[in-house]
Structures are given as structure tokens and as C-alpha cells.
Amino acid sequence: MNVLPRGDFRDVSLVLCGAAGQGVQTVEELLVQSLHKAGFHVFASREYMSRIRGGNNSTEIRVSRDPVNAFVDRIDLLLPLNQGVRENIRERINEGTVILGDKEELGEELSDTSGRFIDVDLLQKGRDIGGKVYVGVVAAGIVAGLFGIDKSVLYGFFEERFADREEILRKNRRAVDVGYETGGRMKEESLLEVFLPGKGSAKGTVVLTGTDAISLGAVAGGCDFVTSYPMSPATGVLTFMAEHSHRFGIAVEQAEDEIAVINLALGASYGGARPLATTSGGGLALMSEGVSLSGATELPVVIHVGQRPGPATGMATRTEQADLDLVLHMGHGEFPRAIFAPGTLEEAFYLCHRAFNLAAKYQIPVFILTDQYFLDSYYDIHPFEIGHLSIEKHLVESTVDYQRYVITEDGISPRSVPGYGKGMVGTDSHEHDADGHVQEDFHLRKAMVEKRLRKMRGLRQEAVPPTLIGPEEYENLVVAWGSTRHIVEEALERVGRDDTAVLHFAQVYPLSEDTEGYLRKARTVVAVEGNATGQLAGVIRRETGFEITERILHYTGLQISVESVIDGLRQRLS
């Protein structure tokens, strides 16, 4: 008898895989929604190839009575819907993995693994119902049966979709029934059982992706102008904003290239909009001169960067954390900026909101660094608290003698926009005087450079401090940033050391002033990063002088797993 969860785990990790365009995504949605509706906490993470049809993609779904939100290598239940399961899945199969598959589809595939294979005639069942398209739904029905979800929840999913197509609806219901019976029989025949007792605590939560959280944060931050050129994995934010543009009154335009993207955004910013540009590495690189223009003109702009592996086209649908250095240094000349890297859905929402206010206040480019893993993963959370959030415009009405670039103590010149007041607003990419007119006065130049850079003082003071997770008194400190937060947290829980804490950075530039104190308190500091060179460790050294020599670096194109972090920590912590 196979009983899940196995060992002392409190969740079941289920992996669905299949070819693109074969309905795997529907099965994924059906399962995640139904499990969540049934009161389970769910986490799902997708990895996919850069192709529209074929290949083999997978989704990991973790199901638990407690909140789950991190990627693991462990596969408890594998559902290979098509043959051609890729090596990255095969190598995660071990003696504890139950494989529910159909030999008619898979042949001898996977029989050479150590997983426990349960042969189910999914294809035949699908054909009996009406075709291959029902195979996935039967499989989902099996899972639902094993988890004891009420059938009506699954029916509801199809009723919403096929309300006016009686025949299709009937067949999908039938597929659910067949799967359900099959799952029930497995239990009776002592083949497989899922035992997750307890009450569902997921009531009242919502399932959101990283893309949703970023987009909603932008809306809450007053974003009213979105421009982008499609590029994975950042396109989802563009799509979200377009879908809801009428609801929130947002201008959305797909531009001809990313150079236009940043220049449309800055033009809109000059006119008083709160623009968002969303892109990935290659597109970001094209924006470099425009980012510098934001620096010179002191025009606010928020740039969301969904990272994927580079250099160049790299791996279009995969993940990495290797564009911190680019974001930090892009744009010629010297000018202030701020960079966020949310690690949770809540951080994505609140920091994106904050990014718009911060950009407006300091009149700078603000970057939000996410990655494919973060954007495409989803889990349930309690809805965001919104009541206390405000949209800060930081605009003044101009008088007849208004000057855009008045030199001030904190470096911030009161900003107006054309049409707001009796004055005029001049802005220039050249070095300029207070009116924004080009000037080659070397004393003025020096004063303007210093004025702009003085804004770093305020930005540093306002920097979001890193989050310490674990004991206040620690010997070892694990430093992480962005999307690895939950993964590192869970790894540390499993390592079970009370002398080790995690320090997670959701703002990676400028660093908050208490950073150094945290680092100096530890005997050993280990950085966990999704890149090959330790880019955050580099920022930390530059900003604080503190050198992190122990590093767990991951750059395969897939997200680092809880297990990889555990292994890395066991090797490095004495």
C-alpha cells in the first residue's frame, strides 16, 4: 500500500506532465481550483518549453493542510499524460514516487525508474467517453477521488466553462465520475491512499500568481499607463493590465520595440501619468539609454523585469536571477535609482504599490525584479489589506515663474506637469539649468550632478530593510533575495537548526542601513542566488564592504529547489 504524504512530510507533491497544447493546463487549473475550493492549501509551479505544441511540460502542485509556497524536487505522485517525459522530471523520481500512468501511452517508458508504477488505462477510458481530450480530466478525477474532494466542485469548473454546451459538459462530468471511481478503487484495492486529515484552513484565501500580485500592486499604486513589447516571462503583466484596462482606466499600448516602450513611458510620465514598463532581459537592455534619460530628466518610471536566463536569448521560458547587475548599472552616467525584488506575493503587491510612490517622490526609475518562477507560480494567500494604501502624486501646481529643476537640500525639485498651473515645464536630456534649458556651465553641471545624487540619501533612509526569518540570535545567516525566499525558508525549517537564520532582501538597492549589522553578527554567512556570480553578494560588498564567500549558486535555468538549498546548507554549515 502506498500512502501519501510519505514519511514526515505534511504535503503531497503532485507533478503533472504532458505535451503543450494537450490540455495539461486545463487539468492543472481544474485540480488547483478544486483542491483549493475543497479547503486545501495549494502551491503550483510551472516549467515549460518555448514551443506552442508538443515537447513536454510539467506543473508541480503541492497540496497541504498548511500553507505551502515553495518548489521542491520531491515527487510523490507523478501523472505523465504523454510519453517523452523529460530528464528533469525523470531524475526526480525515486522509490517514494508513485507513477499513475497508462502503458498504452507510455510503453516501457519510466519502467526503468525506481518509482512505483500503477498502470491505469487512461486512454481507453478517454476513448470510451468520447476521445483523447478526456484523458486529462479522468486523471484529474482520480486525484480528486484520492483527495476526497466533492465531485460537485469539479462539475462546477466545467459548468462555468461549458454552460451552453450540454454534450461537452456531460462528457466532462462523465470523465470526472470515471476518474473518481478509479481513484476510489485504488484505495479499496490498497494500491494508493492519500491521507491529509484536518480542517481546511484555506477558506477565505485567494489563489494568485506572481503576475497577478505585481499587476494588482501596480493598479493599487495608481499605475495608469502600461507599455510593453511582448517577452516571456513579463508578458503576463501586460496581458493582465490590458484585460482590466477598462475597469481601472488604464492606457495600455504594445509598442514597436522596447526603445519605444521606455520613451512612451517617459513621455507619459512627463505628461503626469504613472507609467509601468514590463519586460525581460533583452528588452531591458534595449531600454538602457531611456533609463538614463529618466535619470537626466528626473522623470519617474516603474520598470518590471521578469528575469530569464541570458546572455542574449538564453532560455526564453526558464528562470534565473542574473539581471541585478544590469539593472544596477544600466544607463550611462550617474543617477539614483531603486530596485525591489519581492519574495512573496504580498511583497510583490506592496512593493509594486510602493514603487510608484517612490518613483514619484524621488523622480527616478524604480525597478521591480521578478523571474519566470515567481511570475508563473501561484499559491493561496489572504487578500491584501488595502485600506491604508494611498497614491502619492508629489506634483505641484506651477506658477508663472515655475522652474522644474530648482536645486534643493534633499535633491528633490518640486515637480509640475504641462497644463497644471500657469507656468511651463521644461525638461531636457542634456545637462540643464533650473528651467530645463541646455547649459554648458561647469559649476552648474557639478551642482546638478550633486543635486540628483543627493536623492540617494533619502532613498537609503527609506529603503525596505531585509527580513530576518528565524532566531534573533544566530551563528549562521543565509542571505537570499527575490523569488527564493519561501524555498530558503522551508529548507531551513527542514534542516532544523536553531542557530541559523535567513536574511531576505526584498529591496536590493539601495540597501537599508541596518544590513551590515545583521551580517557582522553572524559567524558564517551563506548567500543563495539564482545566478553564477553571486550578484547580490557583489552589491552587498560594494555597499557595506562585507564579503560573503560562502555561496550556493544555481543557474540551470530551473528554479533552485528546497532540497538543493538543504544540501548546500548541510555542506556549508558546520
Binding site: H246, L264, P275
Partner: protein
């Protein structure tokens, strides 16, 4: 309105004596004044080049941005506040070379902006290299054997891209240029005014005299709403036709197509987004 209202005091004008840019600025100032537009209702966008320095020599709101990118800035500006009169000014290198892709697509996008291009068939600011509109055989320090590339035809390209207003002027004829600019500003949608402009320092071929001898005005009988005829005119070379080559009214502008203006004409900076709207949305997901 007196066009001197657009004069800026204490300026250090960097154009060469005799440059056509002075006449284009005069035509623009007069056009704006005759349209009764106050300087603070006007936004001048420009890129980099001699022509693009214009906003530093006259009054108005201005955004002097990067080389090649000013029509994108202008489009964004207009989308943020459709109440203002937005004009993008630059040279042939700026608009047709570095900014060529934006030119192609801004025409399609059709924002209600006026695009003035000082077409001197040379790169002035960088001291005399060929531009996209330089004639074949034009010799420079870089094009030592003479230009061999086919000259870019902005008016034909604009018509082909679906422009709603395409015109050509010569800076030497200030009154006619002014009238054309006025029509371009009044036109709802993207309006191109390509202006032949002698560069007295670096273009010894296409001089004042040359432009006078190699241009003619379209006559009264010419119908600018006929696109096929306009396309034929656009392909004419020396003598080049001057005036309104093509125009069509009634196409929706970029701003009009944006979701934020579907029900509300208020400029974006004056709006308040209610956090309750976001709250309701998230609650609906739960």
C-alpha cells in the same frame, strides 16, 4: 495673438547665420500665435540635432529627449494629457534614421500630434555626414565615394503607413510653411510636415537656390483626399511638390482608442483612483 509672445529672452542661438531653421521657427511661432494658443498650452518635443534644439530658442513646455525618440515621448505625453497641443520637432537623421522604427509605427498609431521634420538631407550637428534623405552621390567625409543608398522617402512611407496628414514645405517660403503647420496642428491625428531646409554649413548641394529651383506648389485643383494621386505625387523628385499631399479626416486617434478615455476625458494627472476599486476586485477573486 502677437507671435512675439513665443520669443525667449537671453538665448544663445546655436544655429548658423542663414540656416533654414530660423525660418521654420518663425513659421511655427506665427502658426501657434494665429491659432491663439498660449505657450503654456503647447508642448514641444524634440530629439537631438541642430533642428531639435528649437525648444531651447522659443517659449513653450518642452521635452528635449534623446536622439530619435521624441515622437515616442510626444505620443506618451499626448496620451497622458490630450488637452495640450503636442508637437514633435527634429531633423531628418533624428526622425527618419535613429527614430525610423518609431516613425513607421507612430504613423500607424495616429496620436494627435504634429511632427515637424527639418529635412536638410544631412547630419548638421555631427558635422556633415549623410542622412537617410541625402541624394545619391552626395560626398562627405564618411561617404567618401558618395552616397549609394536609395534616399528615404518620408512622404511616401507615411502615406503607405496610413498617415492621416502628410505634407511638405520649404523653409524659404515662411508664409506657406506657417499655413501648412496651422493645418497640421488643426488636423485631428498624426500630421507630418516634412520641411526642406538648407544647411548652409554642410550641404553645398541642396542650397536655398537648389530648393527654390527644384520645388513647386501643388495647385488648387489638386485633391489631397485622393490617396492614389497622393502616392504618385509622393514619388515625384526634383521638382518636388510642396503643400498638403494627403489628408483624411475622421480616423480615431491613439488617445481615443485608449481604455482610459473610453468614458472620461480628464487628463490622467487629475484623476484619483479609489483604492476601493482594487479592493472590490480582489474580493471578487476570493
Amino acid at each position: 495673438m502677437d507671435w512675439k509672445i513665443y520669443d525667449l529672452e537671453d538665448i544663445d542661438n546655436q544655429w548658423c547665420p542663414g540656416c533654414g531653421d530660423f525660418q521654420i521657427m518663425e513659421a511655427l511661432k506665427k502658426a501657434l500665435a494665429e491659432l491663439e494658443l498660449a505657450p503654456n498650452q503647447v508642448v514641444l518635443h524634440s530629439g537631438i540635432g541642430q533642428a531639435a534644439k528649437m525648444p531651447h530658442f522659443m517659449k513653450g513646455n518642452f521635452f528635449n529627449g534623446l536622439h530619435g525618440r521624441s515622437i515616442s515621448n510626444a505620443t506618451g505625453m499626448k496620451a497622458a494629457n490630450p488637452e495640450l497641443t503636442v508637437i514633435a520637432i527634429g531633423g531628418d537623421g533624428d526622425m527618419y534614421g535613429e527614430g525610423g522604427n518609431h516613425f513607421l509605427h507612430t504613423v500607424r498609431r495616429n496620436p494627435d500630434i504634429t511632427n515637424i521634420v527639418h529635412n536638410n538631407m544631412v547630419y548638421g550637428l555631427t558635422k556633415g555626414q549623410a542622412s537617410p534623405t541625402s541624394s545619391i552621390g552626395f560626398r562627405t567625409a564618411v561617404q567618401t565615394d558618395g552616397v549609394f543608398e536609395e534616399p528615404f522617402n518620408p512622404v511616401a512611407v507615411a502615406i503607405a503607413q496610413g498617415a492621416t496628414f502628410v505634407s511638405r514645405a520649404f523653409s524659404g517660403y515662411v508664409d506657406e510653411t506657417k499655413e501648412l503647420i496651422k493645418r497640421a496642428i488643426r488636423h485631428k491625428g498624426y500630421a507630418l510636415v516634412d520641411i526642406f531646409q538648407p544647411c548652409v554649413s554642410f550641404n553645398k548641394v541642396n542650397t536655398h537656390k537648389w530648393f527654390r529651383e527644384n520645388t513647386y506648389f501643388l495647385d488648387e485643383a489638386y485633391d489631397p483626399s485622393d490617396r492614389d494621386a497622393a502616392m504618385r505625387k509622393a514619388f515625384e523628385r526634383a521638382p518636388y511638390p510642396l503643400g498638403l499631399l494627403y489628408s483624411v479626416e475622421g480616423r480615431k486617434t491613439f488617445e481615443e482608442n485608449l481604455a482610459c478615455y473610453a468614458e472620461d476625458a480628464t487628463p490622467l494627472y487629475l484623476r484619483e483612483r479609489k483604492t476601493s476599486a482594487v479592493l472590490e476586485f480582489i474580493e471578487a477573486l476570493a
